[in-house]
Homo-oligomer: 351 residues x 4
């Protein structure tokens, strides 16, 4: 059994990590931390755990000295990079769910996050944890761990995960030119657990709204992923929206075709790309967020619109599952050489 901890476990991604790890057959969830809820029982903060666990939140600092194999950081950006070096030095492999190690350079980080990176030297060591597309990155981390050293995995953002899964097969085939338009819709958990005027039920209910237009920080992460697909730059216009659901994220990606592609070729491209994937399914019809909520699964579709020489690709994920906690555990399975689905056979709900 691997000994693991979750830092920031009172937030939505953190508690989803706790939920998954408590049932993981190969991992032992040793500690969950929270600055704001330190000392409280998990079940008192989240009553769904009543009768199921006596886990309590400890302080962030309590993790040192627990002899952990790995830690999952579900902290805000900047808070995360302040913690990473000490864990790595102590030989603890880090799965970081913040944005701190997702971008390739300290310059890009400064440009979008407005702060200096605290440990730019670690950016190169960090691998980007989107297993379906960048398995070689995770293999590098696996090698480190196999040889007794600690690895650092930057877990992708929720929007970049869905968007990249939707766009990849077409971009990878060299068929996309020009600006890529990404409109995505997220449930309210995406806005975090802190109560605010905007996340009040009576504000979010029966409402949809775009936000962060032209400025959302997931943009450079999406652009980098697309450029890794075919070696070219693809400017991305990314507009996220908030909709009245708790969990679930749909990304709709409109791409201009560099050259025509028949509908069956397009279908084949997508089918092949995810044929061996345990968690990504190419669906007939359109992906629905309700179908993947509570799981680590993604549903993808691509539709050709010949009259405009465009393809519209869509991907539905649970922003807290494949978009955060689920994917982090999937990365941990890969890095520690466990079966890909261990702890992640989370049954979706039909209704």
């Amino acid at each position: 059994m691997l000994r693991v901890g979750v830092m920031g476990a009172a937030g939505y991604a953190g508690v989803e990590l706790a939920r998954i790890l408590m049932a993981h057959p190969d991992m032992d969830l040793v500690a969950i931390t929270s600055d704001s809820d330190e000392g409280r029982m998990l079940r008192d903060v989240y009553p769904a755990f009543a009768g199921l666990t006596d886990l309590a939140f400890t302080s962030h600092d309590s993790l040192s000295g627990l002899d952990l194999d790995a830690v999952f950081l579900a902290l805000p950006h900047t808070a995360s990079m302040a913690r990473v070096p000490a864990f790595l030095d102590a030989g603890v492999t880090v799965f970081d769910l913040s944005a701190d190690f997702r971008l390739p350079s300290a310059d890009v980080y400064r440009e979008w996050y407005g702060v200096e990176h605290a440990c730019p030297d670690l950016l190169e060591r960090a691998v980007y944890g989107l297993p379906e597309l960048f398995s070689r990155d995770l293999a590098r981390a696996r090698d480190r761990v196999s040889s007794g050293r600690a690895a650092l995995v930057a877990c992708p953002g929720c929007y970049p995960t869905a968007t990249t899964l939707a766009a990849w097969p077409l971009v990878h085939a060299g068929l996309v030119s020009g600006t890529v338009v990404v409109d995505a819709i997220s449930g309210v958990t995406g806005a975090g657990k802190r109560p605010s005027a905007r996340t009040h039920f009576c504000s979010a209910d029966e409402d949809v709204e775009a936000y962060g237009v032209g400025t959302h920080r997931h943009t450079p992460e999406i652009e980098r992923n697309l450029s890794r697909a075919d070696g070219h730059d693809h400017p991305v216009v990314f507009t996220p929206h908030l909709a009245p659901l708790s969990r679930g994220l749909l990304s709709t990606v409109t791409m201009s075709l560099a050259s025509a592609i028949a509908a069956d070729e397009l279908a084949g491209l997508y089918r092949d790309a995810y044929a061996d994937s345990a968690f990504v399914t190419v669906v007939e019809g359109q992906p629905r967020t309700a179908s993947v909520v509570g799981t680590n699964r993604a549903q993808v579709a691509a539709v050709s619109v010949p009259r405009t020489s465009c393809v519209v690709a869509t991907c539905a994920i649970d922003n807290l599952g494949k978009g955060a906690a689920g994917q982090a555990v999937q990365c941990a399975n890969a890095v520690f050489g466990l079966g890909e689905r261990r702890g992640l056979d989370l049954a979706p709900r039909a209704v």
Copy 2:
């Protein structure tokens, strides 16, 4: 008082027409019809009207002989055009909420709706009822009515209304080139009142999904409106989405700039375009559907994204208000020379 009737008043757009017209100070709602609910009281089909009205649904055919000034047709496409000629012949001005008279030619109609148009000769007489942008069309209809003849107004679709209001100022200024990407989100009333597996609460709840990708019939209507803005063709990739709210529609329009525009110029362009509009407000921040639900209002915003030479414009409307019933009444006010806001001072709800 004008004598008016609503045909198809048991559907969502129809009943919203009834709601507005019952309180309209210059119109007398003489009859509401429904094939499926003929003989039932309005309050028995929609219990919100209990204690407020004794109106009952009569048959569609009951409208003839009522000496109406105008009729609002809230019927499915094809059913609508089967009714229009008789009304016009009888001197009754028609406000048609179906798609039957929105498109410029019988050819385009056949291409997108798959049926032959029943009265192509009337297409030219029909005027397109988006008062903020095509007031001259409505002036033509006003002239007809002033001279004692019946007019025919094709009321715009919900998605074209929001999309055109969002895109118009920029396109009209000649600043848009290339393909226009429209991603829009609608509440479930947009799917109609007929119960189906898809509109079951437990299917629509906590879910978002794209639909009609590349094939939605509002596409040619949007394209035609944009081409009227600057005289050029603008291919549109239109992807509508369904979200878990009852009423409300947000259209997000991503446009490539033909030449750069400063942020304040862009703001000025939009402010000027709707400066005199009673119902369209250019907002700082982003439009929210909850802010316009229950009203005939629209909220619009435009954001420049210089790094991609794009503008993202958004518009929120109530799909049953400015997207259907409200706009039809606004058209009727224009055609009959009534004050623009008559019957349409519907207070939004703050929460």
Copy 3:
């Protein structure tokens, strides 16, 4: 035109008051106050008002010296009673939406609210503003105002309003004995505008929960109303619930019959009680909150369950309408001798 102000207009009941009063034909909304949002435009706090008004929040203290005829206090309890005496002294009639003047004695107030009443001498002057049932109380206030003095109206709580309207005809007929069980369900606006863990969308969504079991402060108000109906004490077990809707409140009242009553007698009792009421409708079938939201209306039904010698009466209101702002304006109409429906012909939405 009466000059009126709303104190605490940034809260949910307060902004609903503002919404109604802005359109009231006989009242001029001179000022809206807010401590937390002082200096902000109403439309910036509630974007539904964009393009509709330039009203801005001023400080609570700004109301003095405005020569008001009346003020509506939408303040928390205790904050309200601290303001009332000064207004009355200045000749300003007060419609208090807090609980401070609803209870008959300072003792009962202390027992349930845990604080000493600040102006017990005013309790007797206060009249209880439930116009359908206690019109004589409002007539007293009307007399004061007619003779040039300021009146004080305690506007009922949301749960007491719905519960009393549901129970009154049967209790008033002397047919109820024993404990009355009240289970009620409220939308989340009932929990107020302040963001909290409990009112976060992701907490309230897809959840129902009882709260305040046995201790809710509306209990003595309900009991007092029922005792006024027949002169007897009726112990009330009151359990409120929170459900995932923004507005709307349903009270389900189970009463033991002192003697049997036939179904048609029961129906007649209810019909007669509200026959002349502009806002209360006795419905066939069951009241639905969606039918009354956004209005000052109430829907009521009563069903006999002979096998248990009980009657189950239900009442649906909008907790912000008939349960707060609407009713306060209805009281103001009564006290100032205006038509009962002035400013309150708020059309319900069919969907």
Copy 4:
């Protein structure tokens, strides 16, 4: 591995059974049947199963000859009893989720369901499957199965399950007298999968309503359970309500005390009653439906209201989990001697 089938698996309870049984370590889901969806893939009817299973719906009649150990019947009442005898004759143990075998006599069945019971002789053989309270019943069924004969288990209704769990400890202690008032709130899955005007998203959204007042067929089942608790009759006034959530059920039970009970005694009574229960948790604070949705768990609380000599007990379950499919599998585990939690360690979601 036990060979099991689900009849009526396209409905909400049926598909939840399928979801659970597909992952059950000791059961092999051999067939799922549906009359309306015969021939369709499960994943085409419920897209959450895309990529997860190739199960397809077969006809109801296809189950014979499959050499099943057990069948779960998720059929409407009357349809169920038409199928039961053949299964029992073939040695197939039946878990019936309909109401057909829940009531003690054909007379009571006729009274509430308005039809003659088709196999009254089987009523005595049927055991009532609420394992926490009636384990001896299930032991009887276990004995039958152990000796090679087929058993018949009547799985409780959703409202009776929650209500009985809430009321039992107090009634069992002999502390309840007089009429018991049950007000319960259910999510919309409780109304079934068939699309209707009432279950349309736009009808159920933002609405609460009572239904079946005084006539709901779960009433005699609740009364029978309570009478088994202390040997006395307890007339029940049961009012169910519909609220805008998909899954989840809360029952609020108000009981008059025969004699006083201290708060800590009450707490002890409830704690002891469920101390050994794997699925029922007595919570501090109030149960929330969101905490148990997707699981077989129940949360219970009881609050004394001394001023009225009443206790208000509440219980939250997932109407499709502990209220239907989960409990049926729990019964199957008991009857076949499997571990109580096998296949039922369904992790709740924290959010």
